[in-house]
Symmetry: D3
Subunit: 143 residues, 6 copies
Amino acid sequence: MLHFMGLVYITRKEHFNAAHRLFRPELSDEENLEVFGKCSNPKWHGHNYTLLVTVKGEVNKKTGFVANLKELSNVINDRIISKMDHRNVNLEVDFMEGKLASTENMAIAIWKELESEVKKMNATLHCIRLEETEKNSVEYYGE
Amino acid sequence: MLHFMGLVYITRKEHFNAAHRLFRPELSDEENLEVFGKCSNPKWHGHNYTLLVTVKGEVNKKTGFVANLKELSNVINDRIISKMDHRNVNLEVDFMEGKLASTENMAIAIWKELESEVKKMNATLHCIRLEETEKNSVEYYGE
Amino acid sequence: MLHFMGLVYITRKEHFNAAHRLFRPELSDEENLEVFGKCSNPKWHGHNYTLLVTVKGEVNKKTGFVANLKELSNVINDRIISKMDHRNVNLEVDFMEGKLASTENMAIAIWKELESEVKKMNATLHCIRLEETEKNSVEYYGE
Amino acid sequence: MLHFMGLVYITRKEHFNAAHRLFRPELSDEENLEVFGKCSNPKWHGHNYTLLVTVKGEVNKKTGFVANLKELSNVINDRIISKMDHRNVNLEVDFMEGKLASTENMAIAIWKELESEVKKMNATLHCIRLEETEKNSVEYYGE
Amino acid sequence: MLHFMGLVYITRKEHFNAAHRLFRPELSDEENLEVFGKCSNPKWHGHNYTLLVTVKGEVNKKTGFVANLKELSNVINDRIISKMDHRNVNLEVDFMEGKLASTENMAIAIWKELESEVKKMNATLHCIRLEETEKNSVEYYGE
Amino acid sequence: MLHFMGLVYITRKEHFNAAHRLFRPELSDEENLEVFGKCSNPKWHGHNYTLLVTVKGEVNKKTGFVANLKELSNVINDRIISKMDHRNVNLEVDFMEGKLASTENMAIAIWKELESEVKKMNATLHCIRLEETEKNSVEYYGE
């Protein structure tokens, strides 16, 4: 077969539904309310998070793939979704322990969980995009 | 101005983000897990709920409206969103007290909260649609 | 070929972008502002309208169709989109002349334009759904 | 727990990607082109189909559910998605054998596959909605 | 609390509905029609614009935020949405005065309005994305 | 008219529906199944592809455009959509001949078809984004 050379970016979208709360334990509920607004509600709230994982690499001659998206999906599910879906981000997710459960921190933490896994697939992690609501999203590129 | 007679249905979409848990207090965590699956996680999970409220009525000659959608939005926000957004459905929403926090029950409860309010606007509540995830939704027509 | 009997509803989605204003000419700008809010801005505003036309009928034995959706699309474009797209609903759309340019009235007017056209296709117009924004929509069933 | 009485409609959304072709075997390619347009391409084309299955019923006192959506999802996957996803609708789907592969016929066929399965869940199948493209969809209510 | 170092991009989405017209005043209506097509309609047309504002910065140790998205939303509403929503872009928006009301120019103008405001929040404006229709969008990065 | 200097990126979205199959002709069906999974189904499957073409350039003083999006749409339709829509990617698309029909390869091939066409419009092709499903997409930047 003919082969195209080229650096291509592929993205897989996954979902998880989780509870969380924004707060610093050293602050009172009133102080947390002032800093974090209604997101600090001590009785929790939650979101349908959308996670987009982008990896980049050369197109493989034998598959036409940068990476097998089914494999990538499996990795994301094993390492992230199975730990976060229908969970409490503050209380039950090992890689978020001791961190503020902001979308920014969640994106960085997910990057750290996936970076070496993607390397094993002979591709490079490029971007973690995490959408908390339709209006709010964050992106982290490992910088 | 010329006037169109006709029964028209108008829909307003609103959003709220909440934590909840599916469980019956008389069951153990293990029994709840068997009935409700991961939705029974004792440490909560959450969703971005999308709420669609449909009301019907004759088009008003002076406004061209069935009902003023801004007014309808205000009513939905006062009665529902302000009580559910960034809240725990099981612990903090008065009209869900003592009920299983399923999407079905939430839709019926929201209907009960809004029915008389919509009547005051000279329109009739037609449907409460509540979307829990992109894949799961319920509709209640007051029957 | 084998044939399925059954009443099926088919829907075609189209788009148009138009300017409009909500106002009654016998009122002052101030009075219109009170009734219609910012939608009465005398210098116009506009929307990307989404129009969904649903027709129903028995499945045709020779085509498997209730109606040819390409034909239905052509009819909608000839009768509605070509007259409303990139137009001013109040000033340039013949079938809205003399009417309040509310979404409700637009839906009823579009029904009147399409009803007999759909009949010619041996189907029955079932619903006109018009979405003005992501949050606001109306439906008219010809009642 | 307190219990709400009420008839509720619940909807589950699933996806499948399939190839198909609109044609009648007794016609020539030219005749099929005339009737079905580019959808009759003899070398096939395909779609990302979105399937929405709506069932209705009374809310169960012990679960707060009309039906367990995970169970409903499993049924849809067993009976429909596993047979249609990454398949050729004309050549490989048993319940479409000998029928024109129109969206209308597919919706009716899916209804026939699911009706008795939903009954076993103590609910009633209400609507099969099948979206072929963002612009074209059909609904079948078993009438 | 533990702290993640990292440059994160956060995006806030807002909406406004406006009328506009593409034309150069020194050209006749016919000439404008030739250059700008139906977008030059002298009686205006309009859109539901979607505005996405991306800012970047280090994650703040005390909040877990790059910037408070509620604050960012307030700034966007004060400086942009309140001036453009339900307005005529050509006639009523001070920062578009004397400019062609193309999506490209609107994006650049919005950048100029927001750049210093974002700096006050200790973040850096990264991208203005403006979507005019579902099919047409522009992005400006301040270059 | 006043003029804004600036490098702006504009994007046009188009759709096509096509059949394809992932396989290498030198492998048996069983071997292809092992490498490509259900995507290797010998009887084809298909997708609603979404194609996003981003071009960049300075804003033209006389039009306020980087490029006329209607012209860009025409070019995409002439060179890509008319050849791929309702076609079999493996068997009927000249610029995919002899190549594995992966989304990655399709994006690179589309880039090659459009690059010089965009240059004729005095703009620079920046990105080809091709979405195969709601969950899977690729981007190619010509590197």
